[in-house]
Every structure is written in C-alpha cells, then in structure tokens.
Symmetry: C2
Subunit: 384 residues, 2 copies
C-alpha cells in the first residue's frame, strides 16, 4: 500500500515509517521538525541521540536496503498539503503530525493557542486535501485515550447505545479531556467524524494509551533509533520513570498516584497501526479504536520500574511530588478495547520484559539524561 506519514520525524512516526517499509509498503513522510525545536525550547532533548532526517534516511537505506520518501513542510499550509496528497494519492494517511504534549500546551496562552491552531488546522487541511484530490484515502488519525477523561462508567470505542427518557440512540461517547492538547484531539475527532459524514471519507480515529519503549526490531543500528523523551514536559509516565531510575533520580508519580491510565508498548503500537492500515474502513465510515494493552495506576507502574531496577542493580526510590495537573486521583476506569483484537492484535511483550529492554537501552544514554536532569521535576502547573 502507499502510505503517507504526517509527523514522520516523531517518536511514533519514524518508528512506523521503518516498520511499514520493511513490511513492503511504500512510505513517504512529511514533517516540519517542530518537535525537535519545541523540545529544545524547554531546555531538553531526546535521551537517544537522534540523527537528522537525511542521515536517518541514508542509514535506513544502508541497513535495510529500502527507500523512504520525505518532504519537509507544514500541515498548516494548505497548498503544500494539497500538493503532497494529490501527488502521492496514498491509500492511507497516518496522521501523527500534531503537537502531542499536554504540559507543553499548558505553559501559557501562546502554547495553548499554538497547540490548538496547529493540530486543528493541520487536520482540517488534510481532510480538505483528501476530499479535493484523493477521496479514497483512509485517514488513520492518532488521537488519545485522554479524550475520554475518567468517567464513572465503562468507556466504549467511540460510540455507545444509550436509553434516555424512554428513547434510544447510538451516540458519540462524551469527551472530557484534561489539557489544551487533549482538547485539540477532541476537536479533531469531531471534525473528522463530520468530514466522513458530509464527504464520504473514511477514517480510523485511534484513542491510544500512553506509549512506552525505546526500540523496535527495525532499529538494528543506533542511527535508526527513534527519539525518547524523559523531561517533565515531553516525557510520558513510564518512559520518564525508566530514565529517572537509570540516573538514580526518585520516580515521580504525581499526587496520590492512583490515577489510572491505559498503556501500550511501542512495538504493540506499531502492530496496531499496521492492522488499521491494512484493514481500512469502508467509504464514509468513521470508526474509533481504543488502542492499548493494559491499564495501570501510575503508582503501580512506579513499583514495577522499581522492581525491575532493583533486579538489575539500581537503587530506585519513589517520591510522589504534588500533582501539577487537575485530575481525579481516585476514579473508576474501565475502557473497552476489543476492535483491534478482532483484527488480530496480539500484545507480545509482557511489561516486565519490555522494561528490562528499556533499562538496557537507556543505560547507554545515561550521560544524556544526567545532562538534563534539572528538567525532570514538574514546574508547569495546570492551575497557574
């Protein structure tokens, strides 16, 4: 299949472009490198020393013998977006080209506005470009489980049938997102659902859990590593805990730590995105997949990291800092996730084994984590 990956330079984007190319798909990517700039802006960097895009592409060709296409450009520029979609006429657009970070969106008005404008307008431009030049294309869009928040009922995959005041309907599940970034994903979901309805486009909207992991089997050469963020802004819970453990920094589950989220390994995320790509929805269909493996509280995860760390000889402490976020710390959490399993998803990496791999990988980049250790403790406060 012909696959266009928007946001190819990111954590998932680079990993997926290698994964799909090695499965025999024709991949072309787009990126404006905003992620590298935005991480630098907050004084941090990737624990893995990632290569510039041209070196990534050359190294991939050298190691795997295959070409990946690439265009530098900004999804907010409609003429660029339209030309790329028209030219490549892809079977699938995997849309990872967004500002993906909750704390970054919560810094101030400028970052909130950047996040919502960037994400909403980029997605609108892709939808219009599909409608105008490539209406058969499947948009595989990365959303987040965070769109749902933590309701006191089970979370279905996007839609649910309910009875209210004696009548029934199947409706989109209400969204209660917890940051300006998460809100931008909710707005995208509404826009994409509407585009499918009026124009007969097809889309899979992925509500993905928090991703963890350092590498996949395609990264047989360190020049092919994807980025790995660990600071308070860009690092997500489990990845950040592993980086903390490696350098002897206490693990930092926020607040009481009972807040529970859905998680998925990087390898399993690749498996799921591949299943969705290779099993597209019907014309006009807007479908939602809850893409995760297991749910854990952040305290549980900290304890798992502590256990593996101890096994590998690290002295791992846990210290819960005050929670900078506005979120329920004790809550019900039971999301459905059957659709990807029905397509064949088999999570193949028990968390403990994946954590051991992460420790071994990160040990090699310890000095890079130490160099930015002052960017680990939370400073961005949701209430400020």
């Amino acid at each position: 299949m012909k696959v266009l990956i928007a946001g190819m330079d990111g954590y998932l984007g680079w990993t997926l472009s290698m994964h799909l190319t090695n499965r025999g798909h024709t991949v072309v990517g787009v990126d404006n490198f905003s992620r590298r700039k935005n991480v630098e802006e907050v004084g941090s960097w990737s624990a893995t020393p990632i290569q510039p895009m041209d070196e990534r592409l050359m190294a991939f060709k050298e190691v795997h013998g295959k070409e990946i296409g690439f265009h530098e450009g900004d999804l907010r520029e409609y003429p660029f977006v339209k030309e790329i979609v028209r030219k490549h006429n892809p079977d699938t657009i995997v849309h990872l080209g967004e500002q993906p970070c909750a704390p970054y969106s919560m810094i101030d008005v400028e970052h909130a506005v950047f996040t919502q404008n960037n994400n909403i307008i980029g997605t609108l431009n892709l939808l219009f470009a599909m409608h105008e030049t490539s209406p058969h294309t499947h948009m595989l869009k990365l959303g987040t489980m965070g769109e749902y928040g933590t309701p006191n009922i089970n979370i279905p995959e996007g839609f649910f049938e309910i009875e209210y005041e004696g009548r029934k309907d199947e409706l989109p599940f209400p969204r209660q997102a917890g940051s300006w970034y998460h809100q931008s994903k909710v707005h995208d979901s509404h826009n994409i659902m509407f585009a499918c309805k009026i124009w007969g486009l097809r889309s899979t909207d992925i509500m993905q859990g928090v991703v963890y992991g350092t590498r996949t089997d395609d990264m047989t050469d360190d020049r092919l590593l994807t980025r790995f963020d660990f600071d308070e802004v860009w690092g997500t819970a489990l990845n950040r805990f592993c980086a903390q453990a490696i350098i002897g920094h206490p693990l930092t589950p926020y607040g009481r730590g009972s807040q529970t989220r859905a998680f998925i390994a990087l390898r399993d995320s690749m498996q799921c995105l591949t299943l969705a790509t290779e099993n597209p929805p019907e014309k006009g269909e807007y479908r939602v997949f809850n893409q995760f493996d297991e749910t854990y509280s952040v305290n549980e995860l900290a304890k798992k990291v502590q256990k593996i760390g101890k096994k590998l000889g690290y002295d791992v402490q846990i210290k819960n800092p005050e929670n900078p976020r506005v979120e329920a710390e004790e809550h019900y959490y039971n999301p459905h996730h059957e659709k990807l399993y029905k397509l064949g998803f088999k999570p193949i990496h028990p968390l403990d084994e994946e954590l051991e791999r992460m420790f071994k990988d990160l040990e090699g980049f310890k000095e890079r984590i130490i160099a930015k250790k002052e960017r680990i403790m939370p400073t961005i406060d949701w209430r400020k």
Copy 2:
C-alpha cells in the same frame, strides 16, 4: 453591572448593548467589523441600512442620553484582549464575537479554517485574559442549538445522567454538529468547560435557537437599527423567508422541509441574555442553557410566513429547492429548555405578531433586498 460585549457590531451584539445600557448596566463593546466585510465579500448586505459604529454610538446618545463604550480590535490578538479585560474588569463578558455563519464556513478550506481559527482562538484568548486579570468575570458565551445535531433522544441542557453497562454518571451530552461553523462552537464548549474546571472560572454556554426579528423597543430611531441578513449565506431561515415574501421571491425551505429547529425572537433573545447576565453562575460553574421558545419545521415556518403575507396583501409562493446541506430531513427533535424559564423567561411575542412587525419593517427596505435578490438562492453545497 459592568458588561463587556465582544462582537458588539453584530445582529445580537448591537441590539444587546442598547438593551443592557437602557436597563442601567455599563456596557463597553469590542468588534473588528469582520461581519460587515464578510457579508460584502459574498456580494450581499444588510436589508436594514446600518450605520458605522461611531454614528451608532452618537445616535444612541442623542436618542437615549446614555453612553456605550467601544474598542475596535481583534479577539485573535492576545495583548489586545488581555488589556481590554484587565482595564474593564467586567462582571460579565457576553461573547458574541465569532464568525456565526454555517454556509460561510462551508465555502472552501480557507473559510473553514478562518472560522475555526477565529472562533476557537478568540475564545481561548478571552478565557486566558479572564484567568490572568479578571477571574471573577462571568463568560456568557453564545453557542448554538446546532451543536447537538438531531439525536433520536431528548436533548437535555448540556448534561445528562445516564446508565451504561450497569453504572451511572452525569456526562456532557454528545455533540453532532452539522457545519464547520457549528463544529467551532462545539470546540468552544469543550474548551470553556475545561477552563471552568481547572481555573474555577464561571460560564454560561448558551445553546441558542435560530433568532428572528427586525427590531426591539430600543430602536426608536432608524439609525439605531441592527443588521438584518437575508441572503443564502448570512440569512437564517425565518428572516430569509420574510425578506423573500416582501419582494415576491418564492420562500425556500430546503429539501423536503421537515427538518425541525428551535427558534427564538430577537426580543426574547435579549430577555434571555439579560436574565443570564443578571443571574450569574457560581465560581467554577459551567452551565448550559438551551435558549429558544418553540421548535418548528422549516416548512411550517414557510407556511406561517405565507399566511401572514397573504393577510398583508402579498402573493407568497413556496418552492423547496434541493437541500444544499447534509442533514436529516425527517427526524425526532425534542430539546429541553427549562432553565431560563426558571430564571423568569416569559416569551412575550407570539410568532404571528412578530412576523407582522417584520413585514412592516422590511417593506421600508424592499429596494435593498431587491438589489441583492440574486444572492438568495442556495449555491454553497455541503458535499462539494
């Protein structure tokens, strides 16, 4: 009370600023005059010959002896928004400062992007300005009944308690909006709900029905008239039908015409917005009012306009053109609207009487409607 009206130059904004000022409130307005430019862009104009803002303000002072403040500026510019909110420290911001038109948002990608960017960023800027400089302020935000779409169950006022798979929760009612414009209002609603949650702001989110009417009692001088749009882009169903009837153009309920919507008279909209202003929510409260009087199908409205027209000596035909929109033409529609009645809302203008007033007003501006009659039939197609 001190009231800041964003979008003071619009149909509701100008009417409300006079209404609240004459009730003794201190009103200051903001506008960037985009509505005038955007109506001109599509080759149309207001049936009522509206005055420039400085003449409106002078005429109001001359006629009513009171001052209304005004600042020209754009809500997308945060320094401007912050300074205005800080300086006036209002009890209420009535936020009418958005691109309010579904067909305009459906013209092409440029208009869709303008609409969502303008509306979302303007609202975000107001929320941040309130949080940073005036956290006690009540944001009274104009949304639309169109946010809900036409579900097959009753529509509550914003939230509903439901049971799903054996558990209960009170959740935001799902939104299924029918244009890029309506979607922008859904996005605003999510953003405002979130700001109230994290910052303890207070807001009333008004899901308003379609407004109709030419004047209120404050418009004792024609220089004080508010705008009245009647073209395919900016004219809403009932107002457009009256303008059509006046010039002998067939009334144009789209498609089969059984699509049902909620309606409210301009005078009653003023009453409701005043009730919400004078009865603000608690700190941290996000409340939703469904603001309308009655629901009608567009065919029913066309027949009412025909009946009144005949009574007044007009020959009124009805010809349903093909529906340019993507919407259900036969559907269940039963929205709740109790909250404003509990605050004292008494709709005081039977539709027939209001229609007669509208005919009499519009007769005086017949030539201005005739001059733009080629802009009446629908050309903007939701599917294109």
